[in-house]
Symmetry: C2
Subunit: 344 residues, 2 copies
């Protein structure tokens, strides 16, 4: 009998509301074998999966959204770090560590070597750092807070989901750039953590009362940069607190992910402040910025800061590929702390 | 008896709603005389006043808005072109044409020569062109549509208030840059005018029905650039129609000018599209961009296009300084057509 491996796929689309475990299929399938490899292909064994909020949108089946939906029945994919277990490619050898932006949630899978990249060997960096301190959310933080927002020392930055995968990196990068940092998180524990990694002020949005006032209290002079991870009402409150020439960068709208129509979305009242304050709002998706000089600068700069101890990166690790769907669902219950990864 | 001249001042603040003629004082005051001039001063006689929508905000008495409010009792000020009638300055002579960003709505007034600038003598350009084809609204159009939006030939631009002082220039600049232009205006006459100056498609927002559908019909492939002159519901509809990497520039929010609190403002439902479409919204106020290379480029580029006949600029001229308040009020009734100027 062929040895069996685990494969995780989407059972059916979840256009709105919260997804549940029953929306996934976790099944045993035959393991791929070396004789199935075509020229240039490898068998990849995932070691660490990245689990990210933007994947919620990919469960919806919606077309024309900012990332493509998963296809019903297909294996779930996302960024992962894996190890080559067999190779018919001259570029990769058994034992190599590789990065796969579209890695499969399957114990072993066949992929073209040209569609993955060898993990750079960097002094003081291990393969799992590519789902950690050098992961996609970490790059998201860098791209938004550094490349787009062009921070100047002495400015004030507000960060929502500040203990999250993106937020904790924003907090630390902003401190390294000499900014005053105000972090927002969803529990007192997270608020403590945000302060511990360097935020000058932080508050719990679940207990702070009126958002506009809470921001004003934490940043009486106003906000130069708002790194938005939540959208909706909190974004509106931030808009009410921006200074002249403020930059708002939007890398996610987690509070809006489970909403399918504009009618259900929170409506923004303070957008006119963009005019009044000569400010800007810029949305971006990080997948478009890999393989650019910005990504090279990110790896260089963050590796250096990490080695100097100026950046720490907290992860929540779930063990076992079969538990990856639960890890994804946990992102939306507010249980996770830092970047979510699965040790496969 | 001292000869008398006309002076227009603000009677009282108009924090919200529509202003009326009774909010202004039009009175006769003594004419300034040459012997009142201190060293470096001139007497300026306004020839052409610029009348602009942003002045509505300056009637409010509100502090911390994007332009300073007028002060109750003080003479109304705005950009104008005038002629020197007396000079105690070595830099300006009687008969010189000058530009004054803060010119007074008064038949003659004393001003420091250093606070005004001599009108550049340009081939084919007359002094009144500085309230016309080279006016502040024209520069606004250039700054938003060219400097900020960075248009690429073949892209589609949507322009609201397309027959207005800013909009008509946006339409023509965009055509000169090889864009497909969709103009929106508030009457069938204006729509015809917008088409005549080059828009590929145009519609009347008062009769088009649902805004989202009307934009979709005029731009089935979506919008790359939206030059927003109105804010509110139309901005929301534009957000629903943006393409990937769209740029929205906001130079005004005329539909929101008479609103004093966010609670009364139209709430925006489609802001999440900024993330989904990796787009941006940027607000600006043109007063910050005079005396910059951008302004020099504007004067050069637009003068050239004007001489080549590629840009025409329609104005609505009101005669008589004393009629300037009515010209300002007419901006908000939708009666005006093109840039509003007063021949003083």
């Amino acid at each position: 009998m062929t040895p069996q491996i685990t494969r995780i796929s989407l059972k059916d689309y979840v256009p709105k509301g919260h997804a549940t475990l029953s929306d996934f299929v976790i099944e045993q399938v035959p393991t791929p074998t070396k004789d199935q490899l075509k020229d240039g292909q490898i068998i990849l064994h995932p070691l660490y999966l990245s689990v990210d909020p933007y994947q919620r949108g990919r469960l919806s089946g919606a077309k024309g959204s900012y990332v493509e939906s998963y296809v019903k029945g297909d294996t779930i994919t996302n960024f992962l770090v894996g190890k080559v277990t067999a190779s018919a490619s001259k570029d990769l050898q058994e034992g190599d560590f590789v990065l796969d932006n579209h890695g499969k949630w399957q114990t072993e899978y066949i992929v073209d070597a040209k569609d993955v990249s060898k993990a750079p060997k960097l002094d003081g960096i291990s393969p799992e750092d590519f789902v950690g301190v050098l992961s996609m959310p970490a790059f998201t933080a860098y791209y938004g807070a550094v490349v787009l927002a062009k921070p100047k020392a002495g400015e004030t930055i507000l960060v929502s989901s500040a203990s999250g995968a993106v937020g904790q990196m924003v907090v630390q990068l902003a401190k390294a750039k000499g900014l005053r940092v105000v972090g927002v998180a969803g529990s007192d524990d997270k608020v403590e953590y945000v302060k511990r990694i360097g935020a000058d002020a932080a508050f719990n949005y679940k207990t702070c009362g009126n958002f506009v006032d809470a921001i004003k209290q934490a940043a009486p002079q106003g906000i130069d940069i708002y790194f938005d991870n939540v959208g909706g009402e909190f974004l509106d409150a931030a808009l009410a607190n921006i200074k002249d020439h403020a930059r708002i960068v939007i890398c996610g709208a987690i509070s809006q992910y489970n909403i399918s129509s504009p009618e259900e979305a929170y409506a923004i009242k303070n957008l006119t402040n963009i005019l009044i304050r000569k400010a800007s709002i810029t949305g971006f998706i990080i997948l478009e910025h890999f393989n650019t000089p910005d990504h090279e600068n990110f790896v260089k700069e963050v590796t250096k800061l990490h080695k100097e101890g100026k950046i720490k990166y907290r992860t929540t690790e779930t063990k076992g590929l079969e538990n990856a769907p639960q890890a994804l669902l946990d992102l939306f219950s507010g249980k996770n702390f830092g970047k979510s990864i699965v040790k496969a």
